[in-house]
């Protein structure tokens, strides 16, 4: 039985992970605002280069990860385990990072770690792939957003606004959502609330 070598990781781990982190940091600090994220990685499909860069930047032996849907295949798990040393868990609620190939089919947030009242930071971060970002139809407000911000992505679940509102209502508990599109990244942390547009 032949075993293919995993695809290469960062060519310059120090600086590429730093650039990826800064893009993520500002995405989290200014939610619903897509930021450039360059990635030269060639991970196994369907893992996108951007999601792979985020995973290689954040995962290590301290952070169990869960692969959702089409990502839950051996080559993807092997790629992530080889480059990060992170344990692959099959129990979504145990994962610090939940990777999702199709943001249109996001897992039920209630099945993921929400953090505890004493330690709300022990909650899951959901890293999901989308095809592109759009300027709407959703409108968000919250920390990092001066007034309100229009945001959208394709694909997203039809009931995402309701799910994010329920997630925000759990504050300080709740999950944080990071969305990766080709060349860009955006985040919707738990503080970001959907706003109903005025008629």
């Amino acid at each position: 039985m032949g075993i293919a070598a995993p695809a290469a990781g960062f060519a310059e781990p120090v600086h590429e992970s730093q650039r990826t982190f800064v893009a993520l940091m500002w995405a989290m600090a200014e939610p619903a605002l897509p930021r450039p994220l360059a990635s030269a990685l060639t991970p196994p499909a369907p893992l996108s280069p951007e999601l792979a860069a985020v995973a290689l930047t954040l995962l290590d032996y301290e952070t169990p990860f869960f692969l959702d849907g089409p990502l839950a295949i051996a080559p993807v798990a092997a790629f992530l385990r080889f480059h990060t040393g992170a344990p692959h868990t099959l129990v979504a609620a145990e994962a610090r990072f939940v990777l999702c190939a199709d943001a249109g089919a996001l897992p039920d947030f209630a099945t993921l770690a929400q953090g505890t009242a004493d330690y709300p930071d022990r909650s899951a971060t959901v890293l999901a792939q989308v095809d592109r970002f759009t300027a709407g139809p959703l409108i968000f407000s919250g920390p990092g957003i001066p007034d309100t911000r229009r945001f959208g992505a394709e694909p997203l679940p039809a009931d995402l606004a309701a799910r994010l509102a329920a997630n925000a209502a759990l504050f300080p508990l709740g999950i944080d959502l990071v969305l990766c599109a080709p060349g860009t990244v955006a985040a919707l942390p738990r503080t970001t609330r959907p706003v109903t547009p005025n008629p």
């Binding site: 120090v14 992970s17 730093q18 009242a117 004493d118 920390p143 990092g144 300080p172 944080d176």
Partner: protein
């Protein structure tokens, strides 16, 4: 002794000193800190090559987010030229090789001890605070298990009692630095020992503010455009220090001033605590009562009133 330009130094460190696993751990803490504004995220703080109290928390945060193209400014009580600022700036020049500056507007990462620059911060800038005691409830409730519950419940009655005792004893809220503030309507945070003069600058700042406490091993953050409201009472509203005199060197008003003793005859002057701001104003031609070239050696005509 000469080395070829490509030679490695005798002792070489990873970029920005910290190893990559430590940076990843700190980066994850920073992301959660931003996602939960004002909440103190525990992190596995490392021993740094400087003592606790010299900014080990801020240094670790800066090291985790600093990039090769960043421009770094380090201030200590507003000054770019005091021991702590010089030492930490040199540390990052040596271990990361980044460009440094004293100009607030040119820096995109600013590490600070106990001040916020007078020059308004811009979008895209990160302000990293060095924090000694991150827990605003610590001197009121020593048990970590209890303070965590109080934070979870957003129960800050203890701090209000402390401020009330100020009023009962002094007639006004006598807390002048490390003035507790509510972030985004939930967590009360210690803004590090900045003068309360600087508290209003934190509210809805366009810059990202990250706080690192090395000894206590906590990281917390205030995202841009986030409400930071000082605790107060309806009949004793929050106020900042006021100065009766402008800066003696640049004439600036509405800035935070340091008292400088000039002699042993009671002579003193008040000058901008933010040295870069003061130097910038002097370069623009602003003068104060003690400006060169006719600066007297005695401060007889200098200001006599301090902050109220």
């Amino acid at each position: 002794m000469t080395h070829p330009a490509t030679a490695m130094p005798a002792i070489s460190y990873n970029f920005a000193y910290l190893d990559e696993q430590t940076k990843r751990m700190i980066r994850r803490a920073i992301l959660k800190a931003i996602a939960i504004p004002g909440y103190q995220v525990p992190f596995a703080g490392r021993e740094m090559p400087m003592p606790y109290g010299w900014g080990t928390g801020g240094v670790q945060v800066t090291a985790a987010l600093l990039g090769a193209d960043d421009v770094l400014k380090v201030i200590d009580q507003g000054s770019d030229d005091t021991t702590n600022a010089v030492a930490l700036r040199t540390f990052f020049e040596t271990t990361a090789g980044v460009k440094t500056t004293s100009h607030t507007a040119e820096a995109n990462v600013i590490q600070t001890r106990h001040r916020i620059p007078e020059t308004p911060l811009k979008p895209g800038q990160v302000l990293v605070y060095q924090v000694p005691i991150p827990e605003p409830l610590r001197f009121l409730e020593p048990r970590e298990t209890e303070t965590r519950k109080l934070h979870a419940l957003s129960d800050y009655g203890l701090i209000h009692v402390k401020l009330y005792e100020d009023i009962a004893r002094h007639g006004h809220i006598a807390t002048t630095y490390a003035y507790p503030a509510t972030v985004n309507g939930h967590y009360v945070m210690d803004p590090s020992p900045i003068p309360k003069f600087d508290n209003p600058k934190m509210d809805h700042s366009p810059a990202l503010q990250v706080f690192g406490a090395g000894r206590e091993k906590r990281i917390y953050a205030v995202p841009p455009y986030t409400s930071v409201v000082p605790l107060d009472f309806a009949d004793h509203p929050f106020t900042v220090q006021r100065f009766s005199q402008p800066c003696a060197l640049c004439g600036a008003e509405g800035v935070y001033l340091d008292e400088v003793i000039l002699d042993d005859q009671g002579g003193r002057m008040f000058v901008c605590s933010d040295t870069d701001y003061c130097a910038g104003r002097q370069a623009e031609g602003h003068t104060g009562t003690l400006s060169a070239p006719d600066a007297p050696t005695r401060a007889d005509e200098g200001p006599k009133e301090g902050c109220s």
